[in-house]
Amino acid sequence: MAEKIFRVDMTDLSTSVEDVPADWMGHGGRGLTSTIVAAEVEPTCHPLGNKNKLVIAPGLLSGTIAANSGRISFGAKSPLTGTIKEANAGGTAAQMLAKLGCKAIIIEGMPAGDNWYSLHFTADGITINEETELIGKGNFAVVETIATRLGDKHGIITIGPAGEMKLLSANLSIKDPDSNLRSGGRGGLGAVMGSKQIKFIAIDPTDAKVQIADNDAFNAANRTFAKALIDNPISQALGQYGTNVLVNIINEAGGLPTRNFTSGQFDGHEEISGETMYDTIVERDGKPKHNCHKGCVINCSQIYNDVNKKYKTSGFEYESIWAMGADCCVDNLDHIAEADHLMDDIGIDTIETSVAMGVAMEAGVLEFGDGAEVCRILKDEVTTGTPLGRIIGCGAGSVGRAYGVTRVPVVKNQAIPAYDPRAIKGIGITYATSTQGADHTMGYTIATNILGVGGTLDPLSKEGQVELSRNLQIATAAIDSTGMCLFIAFAALDDENCLPALIDMINARFGISLTADDVTSLGMSILKTEHAFNEAAGFTNKDDRLPEFFSQEPIAPHNVVWDINGEEIDTFWDF
């Protein structure tokens, strides 16, 4: 099936199918969403107005049997940051859309009235249907109801009450193979779907297959690629402890932001660590290992049960646990799990919302460490949209502005995640220069600064951090275009067989002959496209800075401040 662009105009409730323009053929995932947003969205438009567009794209290898290729990308102008944005996630949607011949979905315009709609993606195209029953409902109710309407094999992309209320931290939730949820978390793209009055997108299951130009070459490359992932010791540790294995090592390195970024170590680190989480999961008959999409060989997700051995949450990530845990001084993993579950149901970014709670704690809205009150606020305030709920639901910057707090850890209004840039300086460069606000995944220098992956670089030294972040941001932009999970990078950085096998798969899929240099060029061009959009939206190099408190307040245990100046940061873009 030839790939097509599926366009949905919510202004006149029409749909159309278009051939893929030649310029877009070589793109997928983030490369494609950013290319389309840059081409079709006015950079100065209001992100929640009729000129913004929500673009959804599987990766270049999504829908094939390639291991770990099930990521889906969402792009738009972000209502949280005002920059271009791409958020990606696992779940079943990417593989199903790719098999149905979808290169990308472009959702534009907005309805004149108050009616809500859903989209139904079938082999014959997209239909728009009015939706009433599920409006106001949480994401888990959406998944359950669609299962009764259509069966449980459908792919689902949905927004919760947060997206309907257009809260700036609203995410997009994607159904996983067990009917739980994965999140395209950052930047408020759920609010963009909400602004277009679309509650959910259902995708028909299909037996169709993605066309492969050279099946034998593809299968051979995939075997090499999958072996590199499976043999990698980091993949194996991810399968046992999940990403939360990081709590203890980041704490030991003094880079675990604690009590709204006032210390680099948390006394309760052991209680919320990956080691404790693993023991708890096993004790309660949960599953330490779980995959968020078919074909994942790393299995970093898990099923976390409550004390009664009933399902509580999955995809229980380090960054979520850090944010609600160390940053808010909550040392009770069950409170954090409850909050994680609530945020999944409300459809709100766990990092942004938890960092916002930390700022609210500093403001005295609630006490540091009060996990029960966090859960109450999520249930009684955010879900229902009280004034406090909306202030928190619009992110850390929103809380800081409403309560006059100056220690607000954001870049371009997006909350800084789980690694303190004073003690791990490479990640500070990524936070400052990322085209999408503070985001660790854009250039994960933790690999080299802390984990010894892809070499080593002293996290406390200024030397080499800009170059490290640049190289990783370029590589990440390319990986984010393939549909691959970013965790393939651990094998790609240290196993010489991994990256060539990935490139061989792309070549075999499309009958082309990309080299490693071509892939680097792709990554560079994506970053430049995104950067140009932001400049046209009004951003300058002065926005590529960390909040001033990082330069003024040393943190324990290393008693260090952020000391890389603006001129040094700006050399990031010298490529």
């Binding site: 010791p233 980091i234 540790a237 991810l238 046992q240 402890y241 999940g242 990403t243 939360n244 294995v245 990081l246 203890n248 090592i249 030991e252 390195a253 003094g254 990956g274 080691e275 970093c300 380090y318 960054e319 660790h440 995944t441 994960y444 933790i446 690999a447 802390i450 984990l451 010894g452 992956v453 080593t456 002293d458 996290p459 406390l460 970013l486 965790f487 651990f490 245990p557 290393h558």
Partner: protein, 75 residues
């Protein structure tokens, strides 16, 4: 001299979970301590001494805190 040792992830299995203090000869190194615990050096990902990354053959001092991690990642 006395060294405090912290083990992480599966290095704890069959050894110890809480930080443990042990006595070693002057001039001992992280590598020697790790070997004494029956951990294969090839399995070690990161060594920290007093919250800083350290070389396996560096010289440990009295009261140092040695943290030993297998090859791990996340993000």
């Amino acid at each position: 001299m006395e060294i405090t040792i912290k083990l992480f992830a599966y290095f704890r299995d069959g050894r110890f979970k809480e930080a443990a203090s042990r006595f070693f000869d002057e001039g001992t190194t992280p590598r020697k301590v790790i070997t004494s615990l029956g951990i294969d050096s090839d399995d070690v990902g990161v060594i920290m001494v007093n919250n800083r990354h350290a070389d396996p053959d560096s010289c440990l001092q009295q009261d140092d805190v040695l943290a030993v991690f297998p090859k791990i990642g996340g993000g």
